[in-house]
Symmetry: C2
Subunit: 133 residues, 2 copies
Amino acid sequence: MEHLKILMVTRNTLQESLVFEAVNELRNHATADEIYELIVKKYPGISKGTVYRNLNKLDRQNRIHKLEMPDGADRFDHCCHEHYHIKCGKCGRVFDVDMDAIEDLRQRIKATHGFEFTGYDIIFKGFCPECNK
Amino acid sequence: MEHLKILMVTRNTLQESLVFEAVNELRNHATADEIYELIVKKYPGISKGTVYRNLNKLDRQNRIHKLEMPDGADRFDHCCHEHYHIKCGKCGRVFDVDMDAIEDLRQRIKATHGFEFTGYDIIFKGFCPECNK
DNA sequence: AAAAAAATAATAACTTTTCCTATTTTTTAC
DNA sequence: GTAAAAAATAGGAAAAGTTATTATTTTTTT
């Protein structure tokens, strides 16, 4: 009998590398479409389905972070320290919000609801200084 | 010269009332489609565009609350006390999370980012007790 | 009563994402 | 090393959710 494979086996394809590099090159909370547009310049054969598949795979592997936006296309971010986001209601740009983690969130929910959560995103809405002029 | 009208003038139509009542009747974080389906039983002539238009109008008037979900259709809630939401990753249902407001959020952001926000939604992800069995 | 404004029904269009299918590439089994 | 199996791909269709368009109806203003 063979030993069990616990790890999900995924292949490292050229397309996956291109997607990973594009996210890390843009560093701009890019949408899947923006990432696709960057890659297609160098590698015209790539398809959007492949970009989406690899973005989601990389997110599952915690190699990039998928930020699900409530009012439009999801954004993809390189992995770094924990932070939150604020989206400008006028120009639509997404900015990082460096802030200490809200430490007791998990305990609050558990105490008041008996419900454990696996994750959360907080996206603030406002107007960036430029649009607020 | 006439006096200025500051308030936005909107008409109170039958359709608007039906939408408002449906949201308050369902009380279930209903989607626009679910609200449409409820109304169309009693008033078959209504169109989806009208439902969407009135839902957004009622949200702007703060008569209902539009909860923008990151991974699917927006939900519409009757207005009540401030609370947060948790969405089950399996059955997709949305539950209320009663919890003291995170009071110092606005100050945190201002202090670390110099950025005032106009709003935010926190949506937790997890598995509801039923799906967690 | 006539003109202007707002809301509507119906449908087209749009955006974002997933799904499907045939093909190609990579891995596994022998 | 070769054949069979599995995974990933390109391209395009399809799905989901929402907004925009247009002609018509309803309401308001004058």
